[in-house]
């Protein structure tokens, strides 16, 4: 892979391609995409949990038990938590992280 990763690359290129995967079977790629997404979700959950107080989490638990998604979304909004935004942010960060860690040049520079 080219040692110089650009922001364009991070935004528009396949992460596995950025990491240097070659001729990886589609099924395997899909499996890894899912793994990546789960990692991102874990990170988002951690971030959100850090922004919620224990009382908030208690309230969240009640809403989750009710299963009312609309109320749950409203609750997050009331705490200034934009779930989609967090997801995209963490996805970009993770993508950047993976690309950087996988690149011999940027890895050495770290």
């Amino acid at each position: 892979m080219d040692n110089n990763i650009s922001y364009d690359d991070i935004i528009n290129r396949d992460i596995l391609d950025l990491m240097g995967a070659q001729n990886m079977p589609e099924e395997k790629k899909k499996e890894l995409y899912i793994k990546i997404i789960e990692t991102i979700e874990n990170r988002v959950v951690s971030r959100i949990s850090g922004e919620l107080s224990e009382n908030d989490l208690e309230e969240w638990k009640k809403l989750a038990d009710e299963g009312n998604k609309e109320k749950m979304q409203t609750f997050l909004k009331s705490k200034n938590i934009d779930l989609n935004q967090l997801m995209i942010q963490e996805a970009l960060f993770y993508k950047s992280e993976l690309a950087t860690l996988s690149n011999p040049k940027t890895y050495q520079e770290r």
Partner: protein, 631 residues
């Protein structure tokens, strides 16, 4: 930058020394005295030269921090004042701070981490030793531009919180561990406003070690066996698995952390389960597997299907928000400050990235923003935008431009009237943006439908190979391709001409309708073409598909043969007279079948010659003629 007076006040902090050995203490005192002497000398010199106290402070601040960092690198304990200075420097100056040159090399970093762990009564951590390359991250320039401000924002809070809590090495390691260390930084910041819990410190360091270790294997695979695709792919898979496992364990650890508080544990568990799959809605899959543009298009399509215009706007704002991160990172603040206009400070590449990042309507946004800027509160807004840029308040910008997040991110301190005007202006611009998205989307759909229709028509039409029984290879090698390059620069013309034996185009003939034109095909250069087609010259690839009256060159011949007429192909050099060829079918007149053989006739010096040739030979003949006449 810290004010001069603030620095003077800090002098007393030096008195709060920790217990050091007498020798070390003496050495430090001596060094500080040298710094202070240097400061005094420079202060007087600079003051005499007319420098401001701030400039003097800036100069000395650099020296002091350099001194402090050297202590840190030596593994010496810092005073509260020194810690505060470093944190302050980082907060104020970001990557231009003294920290930018900081390198906590492996040995020192590990020593410090171990020391920290020991001080917190933690066990040794597996997977981290002197060989683990934990260093201060020398972030690639692109990354600084893209995320520098947001990272610094997190780092700043982290630095203040973590440094004051005594976790200095973790700061360096945290930044070093992951270029996109936002996760760890956020985690540290959010979890430790005043104090880091030992489980969290442990988790963070494990995360760092895991990412470093897993990446190291991949790097080794790439460097040792660059052609071993299997080994590289396997390493990638292992790396992703390791990071996934770490993130899961971190989350579990966090849940266990709340085990003593029942509600925290259950709150987290329900949060995790409720958010599962949320990435799909946000377009994360598209983002990691391809591009942000794909994610935008997906969201737009889904929103349009539901008739949710607001969702489109919301999504647009979201991506614009990200795009603005980049733009602002590149913005020429000085220029913006001089002109009082944010937009003049934006670079072209920033605009381009914004467009590519899914914000296809940058110009619209500029117009909308300019509209706001031009009203009576323009200067107020501009100044606040510039201030926000300086403070890295990214969200404010998208709020100003789009209004969507204005209330939540833009804490406007103007009069109620001004505030109302801003809200109305941003709402209007938002409305306009949403409408433009719809219009653009409709236009794109129409263009796509048209392209698809043309593609289908093209599939139905016989190809050169179909009609003349040529294989793809034959087509490539066949002289017919050469015919298309007769003028030497990629242009060529095929035109049906009148059903007379006129050897050259005339004004009278070109006025005939396609129906009146019969089965002559004229091939000539640009000049001939202009006469024949009133100046229209078709590019090569269009000549076969866009001939007026004939859908294609092939169809022209096909039609002529169907009508049992003799299509003729005429070469015309510089509007002069060349040879005329025509051919007719000699097979069983089954028009659906290819033409294996044709009767080729040509006129030369007033005499008609006729030969039977295969279609390939026929075109070879043409090719020879082309060469001979030096088209």
């Amino acid at each position: 930058m810290v004010e001069f007076g603030k620095f003077i006040g800090k002098g007393v902090i030096w008195g709060k020394e920790s217990a050091l050995s007498p020798d070390v203490q003496k050495e430090q005192d001596k060094a500080k005295q040298e710094v202070m002497d240097d400061f005094r000398n420079q202060y007087h010199i600079m003051k005499q030269d007319g420098h401001t106290p701030e400039a003097v402070w800036q100069k000395m601040h650099e020296s002091l921090n350099k001194f402090t960092i050297e202590k840190l690198q030596k593994g010496q304990e810092l005073t509260e004042g020194e810690i505060f200075d470093l944190a302050d420097d980082l907060a104020e100056n970001g990557l231009k701070s003294s920290w930018a040159d900081l390198k906590i090399y492996s040995e020192t970093g590990v020593t410090n981490i171990k020391k920290l762990m020991k001080s917190r009564d933690l066990k040794e951590i597996e997977g981290i030793d002197e060989k683990t390359p934990i260093t201060f991250s020398n972030l690639p320039s692109w990354f600084r531009r893209a995320f520098g401000k947001s990272i610094l924002s997190g780092s700043t809070s982290l630095a203040v919180a973590a440094i004051l809590s005594g976790a200095m090495p973790v700061v360096g390691a945290g930044i070093a561990g992951m270029a996109g260390a936002n996760f760890l930084i956020e985690k540290l910041r959010s979890a430790s406003e005043h104090e880091l819990k030992k489980q969290e410190v442990e988790g963070i360091i494990k995360d760092i070690a895991a990412s470093q270790e897993s990446a190291k294997k991949l790097i080794e695979a790439k460097q040792n066996n660059p052609d071993d695709k299997i080994a590289i792919n396997t390493s990638i898979e292992e790396m992703l698995n390791a990071l996934h496992q770490r993130s899961t364990k971190s989350l579990e650890a966090r849940q266990k952390l709340g085990s003593t508080k029942h509600k925290l544990k259950w709150g987290l568990a329900s949060l995790a389960s409720s958010l599962a799959g949320a990435a799909v809605g946000a377009g994360v899959y598209e983002l990691i597997s391809g591009g942000i543009r794909g994610a935008t298009e997906k969201a737009m399509t889904e929103a349009a299907a539901k008739g949710e215009e607001f969702q489109i706007r919301q999504h647009a704002v979201k991506f614009v928000h990200d795009a603005w991160h980049w733009i602002i990172g590149q913005a020429d603040i000085d220029k913006a400050h001089q002109t009082g206009d944010l937009l003049t400070g934006l670079t072209q590449s920033g605009q381009r990235i914004a467009a590519e990042a899914g914000f296809a309507h940058f110009e619209t946004a500029k117009t909308a923003a300019a509209g706001i800027m031009n009203d009576e509160i323009r200067n107020i807004i501009a100044q606040r935008v510039i201030t926000a840029l300086k403070n890295s308040a990214i969200g404010l910008i998208s709020g100003v431009v789009f209004g969507h997040t204005a209330e939540s991110t833009f804490e406007y301190a103007g009069t109620p009237k001004e505030k109302k005007e801003i809200q109305e202006g941003t709402a209007k611009s938002l409305e306009k943006t949403g409408e433009t998205f719809q219009e653009e989307k409709k236009k794109a759909e129409e263009e796509q439908a048209e392209a698809q229709k043309l593609e289908e028509q093209k599939k139905e039409a016989p190809t050169i190979g179909d009609w003349f029984d040529l294989s793809p290879t034959d087509v490539e090698e066949n002289p017919i391709i050469h015919i298309t390059e007769i003028d030497g620069d990629g242009n060529f013309v095929i035109e049906r001409y009148g059903n007379t034996d006129e050897s050259k185009p005339t004004e009278e003939n070109v006025k005939k309708t396609p129906e009146e034109l019969q089965h002559w095909l004229i091939v000539g250069d640009k000049k001939a073409a202009r006469i024949a087609r009133k100046g229209e010259v078709l590019p090569t690839h269009k000549a076969f598909t866009e001939l007026p009256g004939n859908k294609s060159f092939i169809l022209a011949i096909q039609n002529a043969l169907r009508e049992n007429k003799h299509p003729k192909i005429k070469f015309n050099t510089n509007a002069g007279i060349g040879k005329a060829y025509f051919f007719e079918r000699l097979d069983d007149q089954d028009l659906q079948k290819p033409i294996p053989t044709v009767l080729v006739s040509y006129v030369e010096n007033g005499k008609t010659e006729t030969e039977t040739r295969s279609i390939k030979e026929f075109f070879s003949l043409i090719d020879k003629e082309k060469t001979k006449t030096k088209f």
